[in-house]
Amino acid sequence: MNKITGKLLVLALLLNFLHSVAYSVPGKLHTADADDNNVVIKSKTERYEFVYGNADNPVIINEQTNTIFRCEGYRTDLPYVEFYDDQSTINEVNIFIDGKKNRLIKPVYEYYSIENIFYSDARICYFQLPLEKKGSQSEVQISKTINDPRYFSTIYFSEPFRIENKQVIVTVPQWMSIDIKEMNFDGYKIKKQTEKKDNAVIYTYTIEQLEARKNEPRSPGPSYIYPHLLVLTRSADVKGKKITYFNALADQYAWYRHLVLQIGNDAAVIKEKAKEITKAITNDTAKIKAIFHYVQDNIRYIAFEDGIAGFKPEKAQEVLKKKYGDCKGMANLTKELLQAAGFDARLCWIGTNHIAYDYSTPSLSVDNHMICALRYKGKLYFLDATETYIGFDQYAERIQGRQVMIEDGEKYMLEKVPLRSTEQNIDLEKRTVHIDGNNLKGNVLHKMGGESKEWLLTRIHSLKKDKLATALQHYLAEGNQKYAITQLQTSDLNERDNALDINYQLDHEDAVSGFGDELYIDLDFRKDMDNADIDINKRTTDLVFSYKKYLIYETELTIPSGYKINQLPEGLNIDEPAYSFKINYKTIGEKLVYRKEITIKDTRLRKAAFAKWNASISQLKKSYNEQIILTKK
């Protein structure tokens, strides 16, 4: 084949026949495949230096990162992503392929859309970085500026690829006061060097052979698991003028408060609305609940993470008018309505359980959420209207036990959101059944509270009304056509303070197997957690359950006349500090009662407990495999 035809052919084949593969923007925490050692970071240097800025930003941080990637196995393109936002700018990007500067790769700069967040100021600069062949190296040099030291709060060591050597160098001039907290250093060999030079202190951290960051579902937040530096920016002396950042928590509070004072709530509008909501209600608690539930019910949660607006709540009357808001907007509206109705309500800043820190380290990384506190008859209550279906004085796992900073005029109060026991989230199913041929028939009652109820109601309300009844049936029957549900009744699906009750008649076809004179019955239809084993060889991080669980599953079977029970299975009794699995069988007269209780007491299952957990799950599965035998008398 001559050359020209060859070229044409390649063109024709590439351009015309093969669909191009979509160029996708990688996720925020892009991670390499678990076993992907094809690319390694040979070395990375991150330099941060505090320098004088301008009148608007008297102190800025210059950030210079140089990353050298090496191809270990086969040539590839890797997605390189650098984040920035309203508080930072990317000044320059230089790319070197095998030592030669590449001007053809043009980084794309665009807004970064994050799932479930309506708008964020996060932006990305991204491009495909080629690694031309095995052993070749590509380098990315990025120069960035962080415009406000308050936003410079963490430096992580881990990367999406395995690192051979990384250095983090922080240069702090004498006029700048910061604290550097070393977080999660245990188990890692990180060398620290401190050097004084030219009226500055230079901190150098060096780490070698660090594994790639891994995205695993249901992991603790990154601040719990990866080694990093928490930078506490105290103050600066800029040419004789002292600027206090977050020298103490009081400074952080003062900064938050100055934003809160700028809100501009319209007392008259709010008062009118509060009056309308509490009209004809005389009881205080009922008034409080009415206001809380009004916000839960009528304000759609839409998340904004937008620079300074990410810290300043929207005006209460605006949220009321728009019928949507973020956590700050909803907390502020709840607070304003409660105050207008005569209650002592305050705004609160809180870090959810996704964050490892508390307010002992003042920093913008400490909190990520805002709720409302109510002091009533000497007791504090917390109201988080972003949890659409949770009841008053019930708390979601993500805020339970978390430290909360409550506004108190010029001062602040530090409290903790109360812990709730597993009982708050009860998920009870009680079946009273009898045998009819090969079927189990009878009545089933469900009772769900707290986060179990919230989980179900959130899903139910995301369904179209005309499909709701059949969808609920489908959910309860786990999609099994033989689990026939009739006369389905529920308590009010918009009610928040009481448990959700579901009641129906059941005809579970072929649930009984007859062999000779014996009937074999499986009394557990749900078999919760039967696939909850953890792949110990693969999983690297602790496992986090979304909330504390308390599952009770009870089947009361009427033993048909003319039959007796041969022997009852042993049951199960596992009681660990973090969880318990209990199954027991008993007979009461002509009734056989099967009762299962699964409790997740601690939502964090530590890696060290995985082996025991798997053994427990194995025992649970074994228990599920036990059948009841009824024999003809």
């Binding site: 086969y74 040539r75 949507y324 179209k464 499909k467 033989k482 014996e518 696939n531 495999n625 059948q627």
Partner: protein, 745 residues
């Protein structure tokens, strides 16, 4: 003097340019105001309605009124270029969609709570520096239950793209609550300068909400041509001309019930649909007369259009030249092959197909990106160009063939086509026994027709001759594409099942055979490039693999190492693919997969079945009752389709992928010391016009032999056969809960 003239020209251009930029924002605002006034002022009585009939009260949402207005005009212009001048068209398109929806629950509220749209986009810049490109204007009003109307300020937006060429914005609808009516419009206005453009529209009279009133209004300038087609009972356009000679088209449909859209449907054949296409310009392209309205054109006209398209592809991609080069390459492959194998004449079309597939999908060039993972298996060609080129190559190599213009069962049939793109191509050789060729992807066999094109009556086009730079096309007679039967599309599962020593797991040795239409998905999921490349290379008689080639070349030697590393990575991820295949098939994750291999890749028509073997264990399917054990035999047939309660009633015809058979041949080894009971309860025989589900069980020595067959007789069934299909589905579901007892002693 001359310089002054040039200078003044530059200044003049500069002023115009400045002016247009400076005006952009103000102009946009003015335009928004005009559009708002116009759209909110539409005199369509349906938009004044606020009452929902009682029968629709329980719907999640109801479309009270929907109106779409299309406006199109084009003007011919000249642009003076440096050396010459070009003729082009300035076109102005407006597409305004207005809808008024009653919101009855939170799910529908959520649906309308945010709008994300492209606010503006510069289109072809060269000719149209001063044209606006694409501008989208959004208007939203909320009508409260008491009748008050509140318009949303759509400028309360967030910009998610804000470049010079494109702006994208997001608006959260404020004040919207359940019980409200949302009345919104999206008006897309385009000004562009192009030589040619077609703008197809689809008006579907069916949605997941009932629609009380749906109307369409089009105003198309006399310089454009319009074609339209009403399908499946959709209303016809009423056509008239206005004073300027523009064509005015109107259609209206009322009280459209909510449409079923989920299981086994072909919307294009089942829902009332009105299709409209506006054509502007086109010297060498498909031609229509300006100012004409073409109603339900005969398919013969569309065949002519296809021929124009074919010629465009031929000239545009220089297919004549490429075909010459490629047929040369394939010819030398055939020569080499003949030296080692006797290649009979009638197998030549097959060889050519596989050689061409090899060049397109298998062959590796040193400049290629290394792609040996799953992504490679999912590559698909531009079918039309692939098959046209193949047709030319076949022709060049002496294989007479024609191109069937195939219609998908999920699109309009031959009599209903409106655009050339409604046809796909299938090649048919015309000498001796016909051989069919299609282009689904990497694993498509020669003489295979994809299920969606089966059972159709289609026209044919033939390449009468071509050179490097010209092609002649001709028509041939209509052809019937046959339907594959349930005997040809088969999934057979051979399962050897035994019980683990601890009596807690079932050990399964499985051999799966996939035939006909059942293969492609599993092939894509389970095959490794390293393996199928090698098999095809050898089958085609290609002497040296690319790995050998690279290893022998000084320049590319390291590439061989890199491919070895990439192959190793793909192979290390292979087990997970089998785990997911088993989990999908049996609706449960296997505890352990101990063995997995491909027995036959099914790459060719000579060995077409895709066969693979797996060995694994499953927990939870054997349960203890005292000293005895219950075995869930029914679960061995894998997950079965479970109908949702709302799917039990059906009034629309049933479009399945193909007629098909599932066969399970199970031998279950009874553990020593146990006797099996309950075999009699495993027997099932449900047979009707739609298909059958038959299970038969017997014991031979210590083994239970079980044969289960599920057959769907036909890909298509009329709605009245739905109860018959449900009988089959129910029989399969019933079987899933079948058990046997292993009694001790």
């Amino acid at each position: 003097m001359q310089n002054r003239y040039i200078l003044s020209l530059l200044v003049f251009l500069f002023i115009i340019f400045q002016h247009s930029v400076a005006q952009t924002d103000a102009e946009y605002k003015k335009r928004v105001e005009e559009v708002r006034k116009e759209v909110w002022g539409w005199n369509i009585p349906a938009f004044n309605n606020r009452t929902i009939p009682a029968a629709l009260a329980n719907e999640s949402g109801v479309v009270i009124a929907r109106h779409q207005e299309i406006k199109a005009i084009s003007k011919t212009k000249f642009k003076f270029l440096v050396i010459t001048a070009a003729k082009y068209k300035e076109i102005y398109f407006t597409n305004t969609y207005r809808e008024m929806v009653k919101i009855n629950d939170k799910a529908t509220l959520e649906e309308f709570s945010e709008f994300s749209y492209q606010k503006s986009k510069r289109l072809a810049k060269f000719f149209s520096r001063n044209l606006k490109g694409r501008v989208t204007i959004l208007g939203i009003r909320i009508i409260k239950p008491d009748g008050t109307i509140k318009e949303i300020d759509v400028n309360e937006e967030v910009m998610i793209k804000n470049d010079n060429d494109e702006k994208q914005s997001k608006v959260a609808v404020s004040g919207l609550e359940v019980g409200d009516i949302i009345d919104y419009f999206v008006s897309r206005q385009e000004e562009e300068a192009v030589g040619y453009r077609t703008e197809p529209y689809l008006f579907i009279f069916g949605d997941d909400k009932p629609i009380m009133h749906y109307s369409v209004h089009c105003e198309v300038g006399a310089t454009c041509a319009v074609e339209y087609r009403a399908m499946n009972g959709a209303p016809e356009f009423k056509v008239k001309k206005d004073a300027d000679g523009d064509n005015i088209l109107d259609a209206e449909y009322q009280n459209i019930p909510k449409s079923p859209v989920d299981l086994w449907m072909s919307s294009a054949r089942q829902l009332p649909i009105l299709r409209l296409n506006i054509r502007v310009g086109g010297p060498r392209k498909i031609k229509r007369k300006e100012g004409e309205v073409y109603r339900n054109q005969p398919y013969q006209q569309i065949i002519e259009d296809v021929k124009v398209d074919m010629k465009e592809d031929f000239y545009g991609s220089q297919l004549g030249l490429v075909a010459e080069g490629l047929s040369g390459e394939i010819k030398s492959m055939i020569k080499r092959m003949r030296r080692q194998d006797d290649l009979p004449k009638d197998s030549l079309p097959y060889y050519i197909y596989y050689a061409f597939r090899y060049i397109a999908f298998y062959k590796v060039d040193a400049n290629d990106k290394i792609n040996v993972g799953l992504e490679r298996n999912y590559q698909a060609p531009n079918k039309k160009k692939f098959l046209l080129l193949l047709s030319l190559i076949l022709d060049k190599l002496g294989i007479n063939n024609e191109i069937i213009l195939a219609t998908s069962v999920y699109g309009p049939d031959t009599k209903q086509v409106m655009l050339a793109d409604d046809f796909e191509y299938i090649i048919k050789t015309t000498k001796n026994t016909p051989v069919y060729m299609s282009a689904e992807g990497v694993f498509t066999n020669c003489n295979y027709i994809p299920a969606e094109y089966e059972g159709q009556q289609n026209p044919t086009v033939v390449v009468k001759g071509f050179t490097k730079s010209s092609i002649r096309l001709d028509d041939e007679a209509m052809q019937n594409i046959g339907k594959s039967s349930a005997k040809q599309n088969v999934q057979t599962e051979n399962l050897k099942v035994s019980v683990s020593d601890n009596m807690e797991e079932l050990k399964i040795a499985r051999k799966t055979v996939l035939k006909g239409q059942m293969r492609q998905g599993a092939q894509r999921h389970l095959l490794l490039f390293e393996d199928y490349y090698e098999e095809e290379r050898k089958a085609l008689g290609v002497k040296e693999s690319f790995m050998e080639e690279f290893a022998d070349s000084r320049k590319n030697r390291s590439l061989a190492d890199e491919y070895t590393a990439a192959f190793a990575k793909a192979r290390s991820e292979w087990k997970d693919r089998f785990i997911s295949e088993i989990s999908g098939e049996f609706d449960t994750k296997p505890k352990d997969v101990t063995s997995y291999k491909i027995d036959n890749m099914g790459l060719r028509h000579t060995k077409p079945d895709f066969i693979y073997s797996t060995q694994f264990t499953i927990e939870g399917w054997i349960k203890r009752g005292g000293n005895n054990y219950i075995v869930d035999m029914g679960k061995l047939i894998g997950g079965q389709l479970q109908l949702k309660p709302e799917q039990l009633e059906r009034s629309v015809d049933i479009y399945m992928a193909c007629a098909r058979t599932f066969e399970y041949i199970i031998s279950f080894e009874i553990p020593q010391g146990y006797k099996a009971e309950g075999l009699d309860k495993l027997a099932v025989n449900t047979t009707n016009q739609a298909g059958s589900f038959i299970a038969d069980a017997k014991q031979e020595g210590n083994t239970i032999k079980l044969k289960i067959t599920k057959i769907y007789n036909s890909a298509f069934e009329r709605a009245d056969k739905w109860p018959k299909l449900i009988e089959i589905l129910n029989a399969a579901n019933d079987f899933q809960s079948k058990k046997i007892l292993l009694r001790k002693g």
